[in-house]
């Protein structure tokens, strides 16, 4: 089964933590055995008490008291050990996944498709956290308990059949059902994706929906997707309910099986039957966790599948085996460059030719969707051209080492992100060794030096997630300062004034000349204001590059 293979891969991912993980399982089993011991002693005590309060019964009841304390103590230890191991594994999963994505999807998740992917992958990583704690640990505990019970009742084959067998089935059943549950979970996740698409469509086209007085119809479509999702979820829940009910039925059958055997065996079997009864009661508690364990296993299996799919995506451009020497010259040339996001989508670039000399400042105009951001992605090798090539100083950029290319071409993209860290830390991403004076110089060039100086904490001010601490204009300028820090000969600004008000945008564009300081500057924008210091301007329409008129 592919689900088991995926989960085995997850387990291998945690190789470095194997000792902690096994230790957690060992404690869980020990704790389960303590539970069995507690019930054994209770059963013997009751049986002996009834039989006339013999020494054995008294001893058992005396022994009961410490076990009452030992069992919860072991449970506490089990939780500590298993959580400790799980947290170690959890970190490994994230770091591994992060590294893989940096390699396979350098443009970021959702760069080539639905923005929903990121949210889904993050919840898939969370589902893997539940794999160990929610599935493996309870299964280990229940397994230990069932084995101990089989051993204790082993003397009587009929009891094995009537008591231990249903318990064993209750243990295995949820795990056996897990792959089918994983498929149901997958369908529920797809239905949720469909609901999101049904929500995004009218929200993105809200103007058109409202203009057509189509709110009611849009709401009806959303409600339909909502019902479809809930139906898929209901099937998933029903599976869980089935598994839960079956598990409960089996453990109670074991209990009644013990009693029925006792009825048949008569006086001679009374003690053993009482023991079986108490063991079945004790096992019910541990086996009661199994349906949830099956669900956690299914969720982890489905999550692992999607994670591996994302992590195994081929990189857009493979790193060359023997990279070419980085060129000195910074002449950038697009040679019959064509590009489409997918085979079915219309091409956004069609055989574009352009040579940009070092130090030249050009603008490429076009409405959103015209292919400007595609061009920026191609320049960084976040995407591969369909046909044609891009050369830097005469060397095909596909032959360069990725890091070397990105040291020479810096793109300030529309979604350049300020991380939830200090301004200084955000700037030093671009130049880790830069002294404070260099940071201030870059901020000044980007026209945001005064602003940062006015903050009480200066460079140490936290930016908030995505730069939320600042206004759109301030955040853009700090991101520009970061792009200016490394001495890259080519600077590409993709809609640098998006989200700025008119005056701020003009001021920003007017300072570009000083900011770029002799570098090649490529400005990608939907309109010019007239203040940009430009040598040439082009217009991107229908995938072709035309000289901009006026």
């Amino acid at each position: 089964m592919s689900m088991w293979a995926d989960l085995a891969s997850v387990w291998r991912l945690w190789a470095a933590r194997r000792r902690a993980l096994w230790a957690g399982l060992a404690v869980a089993m020990l704790s389960a055995l303590a539970g069995v011991a507690l019930m054994t002693l209770a059963g013997k005590g009751v049986a002996a008490g009834v039989a006339g309060g013999g020494m054995l019964g008294v001893a058992a009841l005396l022994w009961l008291r410490p076990f009452v304390l030992i069992r919860p103590a072991l449970r506490w230890w089990e939780r500590m050990a298993s959580h400790d191991a799980a947290f170690r594994a959890l970190a490994d999963t994230r770091v591994w996944f992060f590294r893989r994505l940096a390699e396979r999807m350098p443009g970021g998740i959702g760069f080539t498709g639905s923005g929903d992917l990121l949210g889904r992958l993050v919840s898939d990583v969370d589902a893997l956290d539940r794999f160990y704690l929610g599935a493996v640990v309870p299964a280990a505990g229940a397994l230990a308990a069932v084995l101990a019970i089989a051993l204790l009742l082993g003397a009587e084959p009929a009891l094995l059949l009537w008591v231990a067998l249903p318990l064993a089935v209750a243990l295995v059943l949820p795990l056996a059902l897990a792959p089918a549950t994983a498929r149901a979970a997958q369908r529920a996740a797809e239905a949720r994706g469909a609901l999101r698409a049904a929500a995004v469509d009218p929200l993105a086209g809200m103007e058109d929906v409202l203009a057509a007085n189509a709110e009611g119809r849009a709401a009806a479509r959303l409600a339909e997707a909502d019902r479809a999702m809930m139906a898929a979820q209901r099937r998933l829940v029903a599976r869980g309910a089935w598994a839960g009910a079956a598990g409960q039925l089996l453990t109670q059958m074991a209990l009644i099986g013990g009693l029925a055997w006792g009825l048949m065996a008569g006086e001679a079997g009374a003690a053993l039957a009482v023991l079986a009864l108490f063991l079945a009661i004790g096992a019910a508690e541990m086996l009661g966790l199994m349906p949830r364990a099956g669900a956690a296993l299914a969720a982890a299996g489905a999550g692992a599948r999607r994670l591996f799919e994302a992590a195994d995506a081929p990189p857009p451009v493979a790193e060359p085996a023997t990279p070419a020497a980085p060129p000195e010259d910074a002449t950038l040339a697009l040679e019959r460059l064509s590009f489409a996001w997918s085979p079915t989508a219309p091409p956004v670039l069609r055989a574009v030719d352009l040579v940009i000399r070092p130090g030249e400042r050009i603008a490429i105009l076009g409405p959103s969707g015209a292919g400007k951001s595609s061009l920026a992605a191609l320049l960084l090798r976040f995407a591969a051209p369909g046909e044609g090539r891009i050369t830097l100083g005469g060397v095909d950029i596909a032959a360069l080492e990725g890091a070397a290319l990105r040291r020479r071409v810096v793109v300030l993209s529309q979604n350049a992100r300020l991380f939830d860290d200090s301004i200084a830390a955000n700037l030093r991403l671009a130049a880790p060794e830069a002294p404070e004076a260099a940071l201030w110089r870059a901020l000044a060039k980007a026209g945001v030096g005064e602003f940062v100086r006015s903050l009480p904490e200066g460079l140490e001010t936290l930016c908030g997630e995505g730069g939320s601490r600042f206004s759109g204009g301030e955040a853009r300028r700090i991101a520009l300062a970061r792009a200016l820090l490394p001495p890259a000969p080519v600077l590409v600004l993709d809609e640098p004034t998006a989200g700025l008000d008119q005056a701020a945008a003009r001021a920003f564009l007017a300072t570009l000349g000083t900011a770029a300081e002799g570098r090649t500057l490529i400005l990608l924008t939907h309109e010019l204001t007239g203040v940009e210091p430009l040598d040439r301007a082009f217009r991107l329409a229908g995938g072709r590059l035309l000289p901009a008129a006026g």
């Binding site: 019964g57 449970r75 939780r79 770091v95 990121l118 709110e215 979820q233 029903a238 991403l429």
Partner: protein, 554 residues
């Protein structure tokens, strides 16, 4: 620690929603109580059988049969309860989601929240409420009612055992509180740390391209590992205490069993008055603690719901704006702006400052001026996406702001800067404007907007699927579909916002021609900075940098 103010508003909103949901939650609670009753019955049968085994005859094969029947009933009841809970959760989510969607639509396109954020509110935040309605509400009620039911039953059997259960039951919250004083605070901190680690992971994944650009992905991976290790060490310190509260519950359960076992076991000698009853009390203990355990497992559902409610409550509180309805759409519309101002909250200067102009029915007006001069704002006011801060907008002499926004929009055909194509066929996308239109009307509109011209080239013509996941139309083609919508709508007022901005010159001329035909005989207002459109026979109103209306240029 006091919850923040919006936390309290969220709890209040959740309580209100829970009350609205009362009828649906009653069924799973009733089924749960029935399950408890069956569990007690099962315990009684087992006790009788056990007593028989121990030499106090009374039970027999009839009890075994009855017990088997009961466990089947309990299993079915469990499934029925699960199904009823699920239905309750579904009903609540469907209701809240529909209300939220209507609210977002009422807020209009000017709402500052992005599409992704709104979609996440509509999908994820509402989904996060599922556990609250489906599991937490019934679990909360059953955690109180089921143990009480067991105590009543135990009282009937042996009042001392009932008393023991009662005391133990009361000790559960006490024990939870004692260890919880530390644990609640600590677990809140743990959630915070977990949130921060997960937040950092998501934050860095979102900015992956930025990290790759600056060759910092590997450094960040190492930093992520370091943070996670720090997080683990801190969380484990917290959990050490937090787990004690769970342990208390287990200790109490174990203690209760041990005490009752000892009490009955010690007296179970030959002179015990009623061994079956004694065993029955013992076997009731797991059934007594089960609902409490379910309750503590459902606790995180309430936490998750409270977080989601904090985001949803402010949106869903408060009544939606009302307004008058339109008796019928008049055939011709005159528009008059008198001293109309519009200021967006937080903006340094008003978008429109005392704008005055008048348009006779059938007249066309071009709004020109640099971007940011307020051209789009005029259209937004007429579309009801914004309300004037001051001044009067009259349509055929009637105050337009008295109309409900949706009614106001019935007067207009609107085409924005970038038409949105919805997932569906081209035909469905045009029919959006007037779903009841006839085939002939549809074809006329598609022809007038030059949609048929390009649709003929497509493999499936008007049936070609476009939008998300469909065939990718170019910007010009999408814009023509939007114009076809406007033709089909056949409204007396035409509002166009930079309709040719996304087009290359060739397409622009073609679309221009369609626009001229659309405006013929209708009152039209067109915001533009394209020189091509100036060829229309229309008055021109220049909106200036000073954001002050200038007198119309003839």
């Amino acid at each position: 620690m006091e919850p923040p103010v919006n936390g309290r508003a969220a709890s209040a909103w959740l309580r209100k929603e829970a009350r609205a949901q009362r009828g649906r939650v009653a069924l799973p609670i009733a089924l749960g109580l029935l399950s408890t009753l069956c569990a007690a019955g099962l315990a009684w049968l087992i006790a009788r059988l056990l007593a028989t085994l121990l030499g106090f005859p009374g039970g027999g094969w009839a009890d075994v049969g009855l017990a088997l029947l009961l466990i089947l009933v309990v299993a079915l009841l469990g499934m029925a309860q699960e199904a009823a809970q699920t239905r309750a959760g579904e009903a609540a989510r469907a209701r809240i989601r529909a209300a939220l969607f209507a609210r977002l639509m009422a807020l209009g396109p000017d709402d500052p929240r992005g599409v992704g954020e709104k979609a996440s509110l509509l999908v994820d935040r509402v989904e996060a409420l599922e556990g609250f309605f489906a599991r937490w509400l019934p679990a909360m009620a059953l955690a109180l009612l089921s143990p009480l039911l067991i105590i009543l039953i135990a009282w009937w059997a042996d009042w001392v055992s009932a008393l023991v259960l009662l005391v133990m039951g009361l000790l559960v919250p006490v024990g939870m509180a004692v260890t919880g004083i530390g644990a609640a605070r600590e677990s809140r901190r743990q959630l915070e740390v977990l949130g921060r680690l997960s937040g950092r992971f998501v934050d860095r994944l979102r900015g992956l391209a930025t990290l790759v650009q600056f060759d910092q992905a590997e450094a960040e991976a190492r930093a992520l590992a370091g943070k996670a290790e720090e997080f683990r060490a801190r969380t484990m310190r917290v959990l050490r205490v937090a787990f004690l509260s769970t342990t208390v519950l287990e200790l109490l359960a174990a203690g209760t069993i041990a005490y009752l076992a000892w009490r009955h076991g010690a007296h179970l000698g030959a002179n015990h008055p009623d061994p079956a009853t004694a065993l029955f009390c013992l076997l009731l203990v797991p059934a007594f603690f089960q609902p409490l355990r379910t309750f503590s497992q459902a606790y995180h559902e309430a936490l998750a719901a409270r977080g989601a409610a904090a985001d949803l409550a402010p949106l869903l509180e408060g009544a939606p704006p009302a307004g008058l309805r339109l008796a019928e759409v008049p055939p011709r519309v005159a528009v008059a702006f008198t001293e109309v101002s519009l200021a967006y909250p937080g903006a340094p200067a008003p978008a429109l400052d005392r704008l005055t102009f008048a348009l006779a029915p059938g007249e066309a007006l071009l709004l020109v001026g640099p971007s940011g001069a307020g051209k789009s704002s005029v259209l937004k006011l007429l579309m009801g996406f914004a309300r004037p801060t001051s001044g009067r907008i009259a349509l055929n002499g009637q105050d337009a702001t008295l109309l409900a926004p949706a009614e106001l929009r019935r007067l207009s055909a609107y085409v924005g800067q970038r038409a949105h194509l919805f997932a569906g066929t081209i035909r469905e996308n045009i029919l959006l404007a007037r779903p009841e239109a006839s085939e002939a009307e549809l074809l006329r509109a598609a022809e007038a907007a030059r949609v048929l011209a390009f649709a003929r080239e497509l493999p499936e013509g008007l049936e070609t699927r476009v939008g998300e996941g469909g065939y990718g139309l170019s910007g010009g083609q999408a814009q023509r579909v939007a114009l076809a919508r406007a033709f089909l709508r056949d409204a007396p007022l035409v509002l166009l916002d930079e309709p040719t901005t996304a087009l290359d010159p060739g397409t622009e001329a073609e679309v221009m021609e369609a626009i001229a035909r659309l405006c013929a005989g209708r009152t039209a207002i067109i915001a533009t900075h394209s020189p091509v459109l100036r060829g229309l026979s229309a008055r021109v109103l220049a909106l200036g940098e000073g954001r002050r209306a200038e007198s119309p240029v003839a």
